[in-house]
Symmetry: C2
Subunit: 194 residues, 2 copies
DNA sequence: ACCTGAACACCGTTCAAGT
DNA sequence: ACCTGAACACCGTTCAAGT
């Protein structure tokens, strides 16, 4: 019983891990993805080194907070592909993505940074999410509903751009869906429904 | 001759002002609008307090670098209105705006921050620039070439969103015009040219 | 009138010392 | 095995002291 493959973490370590994660969620909700890690450690009642031991980088913390959601969105694309017509599946998925990207201030920027950085612990999940959206895009393009000169990179970028701009001005936050709809409309093949 | 309204600045002060501005342009080209002001002072060979005396805030420095350009773009809108058909005037102006916003990394974000902050020395110039673009938008809408549910705030925001996303990924920087074209296409009234 | 740089209040990150 | 917090190298901003 002593050696069971991966050893169970010490009880205090586990408590710290969970406490830090809880506090981080709160602090990042308040201050955005660029929140002060010192503040997280302070409010967790934990030394700064302890935070870095459990989460060696800001992205590691973000991964713990967002990994599930990103993976969920990747799967969600497949569900939508099976249950909706091409254009509707695509726009619904993008609506959900952009709503999620609006959860924390700074998240669209973090997502783009993560895609740039092979070493980020969130890199693979982001790529996977983008690829899933890309499948919906391709499906809509094959159906002739989206212009052919749009790539998955373009599409994902534009969705993040909308998420970003919505957080730059209080007057725009409420118009996020409207802005996304405008952009998506531009991607539609010319004669779509009129 | 002693009092001629506004006194001429001391020669050393004027030299410092110009030196700081020159260096700031270089440093901001290198590091973006969030460049280290300490670094600017250091490389100007000037005390940190001297920088703050001449430019009491980061925006003051940005104003000195960008004011002309912003005012120029405002006037440019009138020229285009007089020399081009509505849709072409609008898209050309936006092309020029987005190209300018791509001059310094971080500029789209600074522009949006400036619009939010009444006290920024660039606030008025930004508002004026947006208003000028808005006039071109209205003209295109009156001509039935742009959908009616787009506001000047939406349009300016989307242009900045495209400028921002283009700097988030090297692969996108070269596709700035393409992304802008996609978005503008979405703003076009449905049956525009076939 | 203008310049200087120390001082203050913050960061992120690392790591020797403790338990 | 894990935790702690001082230490290091940076910020932006202010301001007393100098010339």
């Amino acid at each position: 019983m002593v050696e069971s493959g991966a050893r169970a973490p010490r009880a205090d370590a586990q408590r710290n891990y969970e406490r830090i994660l809880d506090v981080a969620r709160t602090v990042i909700e308040e201050q955005g993805t660029q929140a002060s890690l010192r503040d997280v450690a302070r409010r967790s009642g934990v030394g700064l080194g302890t935070l870095y031991r459990h989460f060696p980088s800001r992205d590691a913390l973000l991964e713990a907070l967002l990994r599930r959601r990103f993976d969920h969105l990747a799967e969600r694309a497949e569900v939508l592909a099976d249950s909706c017509p091409p254009w509707e599946a695509l726009t619904r998925w993008l609506d959900e993505f952009v709503a999620g990207a609006g959860r924390y201030r700074g998240l669209p920027e973090s997502i783009m940074a993560t895609l740039r950085d092979d070493d980020s612990p969130l890199h693979a999940a982001c790529l996977g999410m983008r690829r899933s959206g890309g499948a919906l895009l391709q499906r809509a393009q094959l159906a002739g509903q989206v212009r052919a000169d749009v790539t998955a990179v373009d599409l994902f970028a534009l969705a993040n751009a909308v998420g970003w701009i919505a957080e730059q001005d209080p007057a725009l936050t409420g118009r996020r869906e409207h802005l996304l709809a405008l952009v998506l409309d531009g991607l539609g093949a010319r004669p779509r429904q009129a």
